[in-house]
């Protein structure tokens, strides 16, 4: 593409952005105040958690989150369908290996903390899962071909665990007669924690497996205890 055409497209995009900003300003001006934020804060005592973000994700709009987890799974299955992972890097040198053996347990510990703290402060399954995933990324960069994950069979079960627990809790509350994904009073906190724990594991495994970039290769140690 020649320069004038590029310039023209840039100008048009700037114009489009300006129009959008103006419309967004107009939308904010005609706004009905705090929108749903007040309602979300007012309903917080009924939700079983003290952090409004966790309440939105796991209670008010839990069904959205269920489908979001399915999006993650679809992305990983899509990556797996394109073939086997490329071999990883060569084993790390002593300094990197020592750092990894320190950082990975810390990441897992911090992930557990974030999962728990999500009940009353910023945190939760997605943040904790991201930390677990980054532990997998570190392991792969340090030479572990499979990013610290178990065999393909086990990976398949781990990546579906989060959605499975989520959907089964939903079906359970439906069969109990209170409606799909409607937590009975008093149970909310523990059901949310159960769902979030399973989701954390699934998100972590999914992200690490996605970073490996393909279907896990079988290796000789499969089946043997690591």
């Amino acid at each position: 593409m020649n320069r004038p055409a590029k310039l023209m497209i840039g100008l048009l995009l700037c114009l489009f952005a300006l129009v959008l900003l103006w419309v967004f300003h107009a939308a904010l001006m005609q706004s009905p105040g705090a929108r749903l934020a007040d309602l979300a804060m007012d309903s917080l005592p009924l939700s079983g958690v003290k952090n409004p973000v966790t309440a939105v994700l796991l209670s008010y709009r839990a069904y959205d989150t269920l489908l979001e987890l399915a999006v993650l799974l679809a992305a990983l299955l899509g990556i797996w369908s394109l073939g086997a992972a490329t071999p990883g890097f060569q084993p790390a040198g002593a300094a990197l290996a020592a750092m990894v053996s320190w950082v990975v347990p810390l990441l897992i510990l911090t992930g557990g903390y974030l999962l728990w703290v999500g009940g009353y402060a910023p945190g939760g399954a997605f943040q904790a899962g991201a930390l677990l995933g980054s532990a997998g990324v570190l392991l792969r960069l340090a030479g572990d071909e499979r990013a610290g994950l178990p065999s393909e069979r086990a990976q398949r079960r781990l990546v579906v665990a989060g959605i499975a627990v989520f959907a089964l809790v939903g079906l359970g509350t439906m069969v109990a007669g209170i409606g799909f994904l409607t937590y009975p009073p008093g149970w909310s906190k523990w059901l949310i924690l159960l769902i979030e724990t399973a989701a954390t594991v699934s998100i972590g495994v999914t992200l690490a497996a996605a970073y490996a970039g393909g279907k896990p290769r079988s290796r000789a140690s499969d089946g043997a205890t690591p």
Binding site: F24, Y60, R61, Y63, V71, A74, L77, G78, I163, A164
Partner: protein, 480 residues
């Protein structure tokens, strides 16, 4: 106390989890999952038939804080179509992906796609719709690239980027609506919306983003390569259901959210794009060298017909005439769903048996694959709009509406499109029948040929003769 709306989403989701976790029994679990999903989807349609519309609140918070699932005649009709088409495709897939690595990848993605489709048709919340669009788009791309061939991967990478652009643009519109009206529920937003720059910008952004996904002319460039290079069952679901889902969403938004602010000019523009799609798509289908490419271009034209309804709906006041138009629109969408799925499945059989799908070299197909050829002919009946197909009734009401609202020029478009459709279908059939008659056996591989045949038969005969049921399902009076 079972919530059929939630089940229609969770049953295929659980099926996807099972086939992911237990790859050893993927085929058996796939068939069981497909039957279960079709049953729970049809259950929703039956309940809408009995009680009118259904609504449920997952989480029990209710709008505006929580989100809701809702089924009315429009979504129930499309849900039933999706259930039957997807069931036929599932049975076809058991024969098509008989062994090998690919079926391990097909089934989990397929159930996730089905779940996304049901979730999209039942969603009553603008942000929830965005999530379903993402799930639908990702699974469709992954399934489309399943052959692993270079052209398929390239076409689907483009499809992925186009789809992301489309859903991001849609999301921009949702953000504007939430900022201005403080709710994401479709009914509440529709009640609060006022004409102004915000509503107009949201209308343009959301329609534009979805038009990209629905391949409305001139945003169709990604569709022919993506649909023509996918495995046959995937092409069928992309053309019959995935594109239709994006179109359904445009219709839903124009009816329920932007109903009060849509201007005749906006509807006229959509009609004009539809007219261009009818002529351009039919023309390219006539010139196509490959059967699957022909089917893909014909999808463009059929989406074009659906767009022609917008200016007429806009110009017709509430009442039986408008109800007829709306039901005719759904009837055409459903007929096309069945016909195109049947056509793609049959084209897959032809391609598998001949090793190619070049139309000029299809001589003798009628002798080798009589059932597949018959399916192509039946599907063609519906694509052209010959009686007794559902699209005959659809086109008839479309033309009546055009005369009654004084917009006679759309009739010319419909006539040209129909002539071109007849030409491209007969071009295929004349090649297929050009050898001596007496086929040996009508059906050669039942698990793949029977689903194609049933889909085509439904589009050509059942929907036309049973069209009145659709009016009843949508809660309208019976056609005059």
């Amino acid at each position: 106390m079972l919530d059929s709306l939630a089940l229609a989403v969770t049953v295929p989701l659980l099926a996807a989890l099972l086939v992911t976790a237990l790859p050893g029994r993927v085929q058996t679990l796939g068939v069981i999952g497909a039957i279960a999903t079709a049953l729970v989807s049809l259950q929703v349609t039956v309940q809408v038939w009995q009680h009118g519309s259904l609504r449920s609140d997952p989480g029990g918070w209710g709008a505006p804080l929580g989100l809701a699932l809702e089924a009315d005649g429009l979504s129930a009709a499309l849900l039933a179509m999706a259930a039957l088409v997807a069931l036929a495709i599932s049975i076809y897939a058991t024969g098509y992906f008989r062994e090998g690595e690919r079926r391990l990848h097909f089934w989990p993605l397929w159930f996730l796609l089905w779940s996304a489709l049901n979730a999209l048709l039942l969603a009553a919340d603008l942000f929830n719709l965005y999530v379903t669009l993402e799930l639908l788009g990702l699974t469709a791309v992954a399934l489309g690239a399943l052959t692993g061939q270079r052209e398929a991967v390239a076409a689907n990478l483009r499809y992925l980027l186009v789809g992301l652009l489309g859903s991001m643009t849609y999301l921009l519109g949702v953000v504007l609506l939430y900022a201005a009206y403080g709710t994401l529920d479709i009914a509440l937003t529709g009640a609060a919306i006022r004409p102004g720059p915000v509503a107009s910008a949201a209308l343009v952004l959301m329609t534009g983003g979805l038009a990209l996904k629905a391949a409305i002319f001139p945003l169709h460039f990604w569709l022919p390569p993506a649909h023509a290079n996918a495995p046959a069952p995937v092409s069928a679901v992309l053309s019959a259901l995935v594109v239709k889902a994006a179109f359904y969403l445009i219709l839903r938004l124009w009816l329920d959210v932007f109903g009060t602010i849509v201007t005749p000019a906006a509807a006229g523009l959509l009609g004009l794009l539809g007219a261009a799609a009818v002529i351009w798509g039919s023309w390219r289908a006539l010139r196509a060298e490959r059967l699957k490419l022909l089917a893909a271009y014909s999808t463009l034209a059929q989406i074009g017909y659906l767009c022609l309804f917008f200016p007429l709906l806009q110009a017709t006041p509430e009442g039986p005439a408008r109800d007829d138009l709306l039901a005719a629109l759904v009837l055409m969408a459903i007929s096309h769903g069945f016909a195109k799925a049947g056509l793609f499945l049959a084209a897959g059989l032809v391609q598998h048996s001949a090793g190619h799908d070049r139309i000029d070299e299809l001589g003798g197909t009628a002798q080798h694959l009589p059932a597949a050829t018959f399916s192509i002919a039946l599907a063609g009946t519906a694509l052209i709009g010959l009686p007794p197909s559902g699209s005959f009734i659809g086109k008839w009401i479309l033309m009546t509406g055009a005369i009654e609202t004084g917009q006679w020029w759309w009739i010319l478009v419909i006539l040209i499109g129909t002539l071109l459709a007849a030409a491209y279908m007969f071009r295929v059939l004349s090649r297929a029948f050009n050898e001596a008659p007496t086929p040996r056996r009508f059906v050669t591989q039942a698990s793949t040929e029977v689903p194609a045949l049933l889909l085509a038969l439904t589009s050509a005969v059942v929907l036309g003769l049973g069209a009145q049921l659709l009016w009843r399902l949508m809660g309208f009076g019976v056609v005059a």
